[in-house]
C-alpha cells in the first residue's frame, strides 16, 4: 500500500493535532499527524508509552475529536463512533454483568436482530474463537486469554470493516499472547478486515503487521515507516529469518535513538 | 495462608469487640453500684433535674438567688426539655431531686417506682385545649371527628380524657394523634390538626399563630395541676436533713416571688426562654406556694385510675399517702400540710 492509492484507503488522518487539557495544563499528545491505512491492511502502531499511539486509535474510533485536522473513514469525515469500527482494549473490555453469550450478542442486540440470527451468530463466533462450552460463563470466571478471545469475538461478530486494537495482548503471558497472535492472524486471513493494532512490542509488530509506523513521544509524531514484506502465514520459523532480524535491529535502533 | 490469616484477624476483631462490650457492661454496672453507695461529705451537694416549664418558678428562683447555698446545700441544676426525662434522671439515681407536674409521678408510682413527693411548689391551671374556629370548633361537642393532638402520659393528656368523658364523647370518636407541644403549634397552624391539648406557653404560641381564629377550653373545675418535688425514697430516708434544707430554700423563694413578682418573671423568662410578655399574661394561672394538700391525693388517685385503665397491669391501686413525705414540710412550716 502506498500513499498514492488514496481511493483504496479506509482510514485517513489529515494533519491531525490532539491537545488534552486547557491553558498551562495543555498537553500535546499528537502533533500534525497524517497517515492512511489501506483496505484490509494490517497496520501496527509501535512506540513507547505516551507517544500518542492510543490517541490515534481513539481518534480513528471516534471516541476523541481532533483539536485540528480531520479523520476520514471511507473518505467520509467522522464525528463519533460507529459500528463500522470494532474495538478491543487491553482491559475493561467485556461487560462483567453479561455472560459470554451476552457480550458476543451485544452488537446484534443493539441492531435489534431477531433472536434466531443472534443465536447463530453467537455460536459461529464461539466456534471460531474456540470458546464453545463457555457461553454461560461470566467474564470473571474466564482466564485473561479467554476473555480477550471473547472480546475479539464480540468485535468480530458485529462485522465491522475496521478493527481497532489497543494493546490487546499486553497483559497476557508470553505463551498465551503468542497463541492469541496466531489465532488473530488465522481469523484475519479467513475474514479480511482493516486492522490498526497498537503495541509497544517490536516482535509482536513484526509478527502481525503488513506495515509498522514507529512513533516518537511528546508530542507524538510518526517517525518512521517499515514495510514488513515477510510471507504469510508467519509461523515459528520466521523468527530465525534473517529479514526478521534485520527489521528487528532497525526498529530497535530507531526506538533507542528517540 | 494469607486468607486464613485474614479470617483469623477477623475473628480476633469480633472477639475483641465482644470482650470490650462485656467489659463495658461490667464497668457500667460497677459505676451504677458506686453511685448507690451513700458516702456524703459534711457540706451537702445534690443534683436537681429541672424541666423547662413556667410552673417551676420557685425552683428557678431558689437556684438563681442562691437560697439553697444559704442553707448550706449545693444544688447542681440540670435542665431537661421534658419532665419525663428529668424523672428518668431521678429514678436512675443521676439526680437526687426533680420536680414535675404530678401526672408522670402517678405513672411511675403505679408501675412500682419507690419515690416520695416531698412538697408541691405550685398549683396551676395552665393545661388547656386550643381549637380552630375555622375548623368549626365552637363548643366541646364539636371535637367529634376532629383531628386532635396530645402528648401521651402528660397532664394535658389526662385532661383530654376527662374533658371528653365529661362531654360524653367516646375517645375513638376523635382522631387522636401524638405530638410534642412545639410540633402541635406547627401542625395546628398549617391545618394538619384541628386542635390540641397542651400546657403553657404552647397554647399561647398557638393563639399567636392564628390570631382571632382560635378558641380555648380551659380546665375549669375538671383539672388543676400540682408542680411537685420528687425524690427517691431511700435517699429521703437516709438524708432527711437535705430535704429540710431544700424546703427552706423553696420557702425563701416563695417569699421572694411574692415580694418581687417582676424580678421573678425576669428569672423565669431567662431560664425558659419564653418572652416576658407571655409570662406576664400567664402569671395569674400559677400559684407559686409550697403546700401538701389533700386535694393532691385526690388528683393522684383519679389520675392513677386513668393510668391503670390505659395500661392494665398486675399492680393494684397504690396507697397514695405512702408516697407523700410530709415530715420535712411539717417541720419547717406545719401550716402548709393539710393531708387529712
Amino acid at each position: 500500500m502506498t500513499l498514492t492509492e488514496r481511493s483504496a484507503h479506509k482510514i485517513v488522518f489529515e494533519s491531525v493535532t490532539m491537545v488534552y487539557g486547557l491553558g498551562e495544563l495543555a498537553v500535546k499528545a499528537l502533533d500534525d499527524c497524517s497517515l492512511s491505512v489501506g483496505a484490509n491492511e494490517f497496520l501496527c502502531l509501535l512506540g513507547p508509552s505516551g507517544c500518542g499511539k492510543s490517541t490515534i486509535l481513539h481518534l480513528a474510533a471516534g471516541f476523541l475529536t481532533p483539536s485540528t485536522g480531520a479523520v476520514f473513514i471511507n473518505k467520509r469525515r467522522i464525528y463519533g463512533p460507529g459500528t463500522d469500527r470494532g474495538i478491543v482494549f487491553q482491559k475493561h473490555n467485556l461487560f462483567p454483568w453479561k455472560r459470554v453469550e451476552g457480550n458476543i450478542a451485544f452488537g446484534s442486540r443493539m441492531q435489534a436482530l431477531p433472536e434466531k440470527e443472534r443465536r447463530s451468530k453467537v455460536n459461529e463466533y464461539l466456534d471460531l474463537m474456540e470458546l464453545s462450552g463457555f457461553e454461560r460463563h461470566y467474564p470473571s470466571q474466564l482466564s485473561q486469554g479467554m476473555q480477550q478471545r471473547v472480546s475479539l469475538a464480540r468485535a468480530y461478530a458485529n462485522e465491522p470493516e475496521i478493527l481497532l486494537m489497543d494493546e490487546p495482548f499486553a497483559s497476557l503471558d508470553a505463551q498465551t499472547a503468542m497463541r492469541m497472535r496466531e489465532l488473530l492472524l488465522r481469523i484475519w486471513s479467513e475474514r479480511r478486515k482493516t486492522i490498526v493494532f497498537v503495541t509497544h512490542d517490536i516482535d509482536e509488530a513484526i509478527h502481525l503487521a503488513d506495515r509498522v509506523l514507529l512513533m516518537t513521544s511528546r508530542p507524538g509524531r510518526i517517525k518512521k515507516e517499515f514495510l514488513i514484506e515477510l510471507s504469510r502465514p508467519r509461523s515459528w520459523e520466521f523468527y530465525s529469518d534473517s529479514r526478521y532480524t534485520e527489521l528487528r535491529s532497525a526498529m530497535r535502533s530507531a526506538l533507542l535513538n528517540e | 495462608m494469607k486468607e486464613s490469616k485474614q479470617k483469623a484477624a477477623k475473628l480476633v476483631k469480633t472477639l475483641k469487640t465482644a470482650v470490650l462490650a462485656v467489659l463495658l457492661m461490667a464497668g457500667i454496672s460497677a459505676l451504677g453500684g458506686l453511685s448507690c453507695a451513700p458516702s456524703r461529705p459534711a457540706r451537702q451537694s445534690i443534683t436537681y433535674a429541672m424541666p423547662i416549664t413556667l410552673t417551676a418558678v420557685i425552683p428557678y428562683v431558689a437556684s438563681e438567688k442562691g437560697f439553697w447555698k444559704e442553707e448550706g446545700l449545693d444544688v447542681k441544676v440540670q435542665m431537661f426539655s421534658a419532665g419525663r426525662l428529668a424523672l428518668d434522671a431521678l429514678l436512675s439515681k443521676n439526680a437526687e431531686v426533680m420536680s414535675v407536674s404530678e401526672t408522670p409521678l402517678v405513672h411511675a408510682i403505679v408501675q412500682g417506682n419507690k419515690i416520695f413527693l416531698v412538697s408541691t411548689v405550685a398549683s396551676h391551671h395552665e393545661v388547656k385545649f386550643l381549637g380552630r374556629r375555622d375548623k368549626h370548633i365552637a363548643t366541646p361537642e364539636d371535637l367529634r371527628g376532629k383531628a386532635i393532638a396530645t402528648l401521651p402520659g402528660t397532664n394535658s393528656d389526662y385532661f383530654m380524657y376527662e374533658f371528653l368523658k365529661k362531654h360524653g364523647i367516646p375517645v375513638n370518636a376523635v382522631k387522636i394523634t401524638n405530638m410534642s407541644p412545639p410540633e402541635m403549634v406547627t401542625a395546628f397552624a398549617n391545618g394538619a390538626i384541628d386542635g390540641y391539648f397542651a400546657w403553657e406557653p404552647h397554647i399561647y404560641y398557638g393563639e399567636q399563630q392564628l390570631p382571632g381564629k382560635t378558641i380555648v377550653f380551659g380546665p375549669g373545675d375538671l383539672y388543676h395541676g400540682w408542680h411537685s418535688v420528687a425524690m427517691n425514697q431511700d435517699f429521703v430516708k437516709a438524708h432527711p436533713e437535705v430535704v429540710q434544707k431544700l424546703i427552706r430554700g423553696f420557702i425563701k423563694a416563695e417569699e421572694y416571688i411574692h415580694q418581687n413578682p417582676e424580678e421573678a418573671m425576669t428569672i423565669v423568662a431567662k431560664v425558659t426562654g419564653v418572652d416576658k410578655e407571655a409570662i406576664r399574661k400567664l402569671w395569674p394561672e400559677m400559684k407559686p406556694v409550697l403546700r401538701l394538700d389533700k386535694d393532691l391525693i385526690d388528683v393522684m388517685n383519679q389520675e392513677g385510675q386513668w393510668s391503670l385503665s390505659l395500661n392494665p397491669s398486675a399492680t393494684t391501686t397504690p396507697k397514695w399517702r405512702d408516697f407523700i413525705y410530709s415530715d420535712a414540710l411539717d417541720a419547717v412550716r406545719p401550716s402548709s400540710v393539710n393531708l387529712n
Binding site: H92, F95, P160 | M179
Partner: protein, 265 residues
Amino acid sequence: MRRFWHLSRTRSRTSALGAVAVSLVLLLWQLVSYWHVYDNHLLPPPSYIVKAFVQMAQSGEWFVDVRDSLIRYGLGLLLGCFTGVAVGLVTGGIWPVRAALAPMLDFSRSTPMIALVPLFIVFFGIGLEEKVYLVAWGVFFPVWLNTQAGVSSTEREYLWAARSLGSSGWQLYGEVLLPRALPYIIVGVRVGITTGFFALGAAEVAGAFSGVVFRSYYSHQMFRTDKMMVAILTVGFLGFLCDRLYAITMTRLVPWWKENLDDLD
C-alpha cells in the same frame, strides 16, 4: 486456642457464634437484673420483656404496630430507593447537574431527621404521606450517593465499547451505566435500609398513634419500660430481618458481582 482462631469461616459457624453471643448477653442481662444493679423498673430483665411481649401479642397491639410501621417503612424505602437511583443516575452521568445539585444535597443530608419533622409537617401534614416522605428522605441519600459513585466511576472503555457496538443515548444508561452501578446501588440500598429505620424513628415521634417506634415513646411516657423494651427490640429485629432478607435476595439476583456480594453476608 490457636485452633479456635484457625476455624475456617462457614455460614453455619458464623450464625452459631452470633447465636452464642446473643444468648450470653441475654444471660448477663438477666443476671444483672437478678443482682439488682439497676432497678427492674428502669431496665426490665428479659423475663419481664417476654411477658410484656406475650401480652402485647395476645391483645393484637404488637401486630398492629408492626403492620403500621412496615407500611410506612416499606413505602418510604421504595420511594427513597427509586428516587435515589434516578437522581444518582442523572448526577453521576451528567456532571453539570451534579455540580449544580451537590451543595444543596450535601447540605440537607447531614440534617438530623428529627429536626426535619416540623418542616415535613408544614409541607405534608401528619398523615401517611409525611411519614413515608420522611423515611424516603432517610433512604434517599445513601442510595443517591452510591448510585452516583457507581455511575461516575464507570470505566470509559465500557462506554466506548458499547458505542462502537451501536448503542447510544438511553441505551447506554440501561446497558452500561445502570448495570455497572448496580453493585454500588446494592450497597447503597443496604445502608438505606438502616437509615430508613432511623427516619422511621423521627416519623413516629409526631402524628402517629401506632407503630413500633411510637410504642416505644408511648410506653416510656407511661412508665411501661417492659413494653418500651419490647418495642425497641422489635425495631432492632425488623431491621435485622430486612437486612438479612435483602442480603439473601441480592446474592441470588446478582450472581455476576461475586466479590462485592460476599461482603453482604
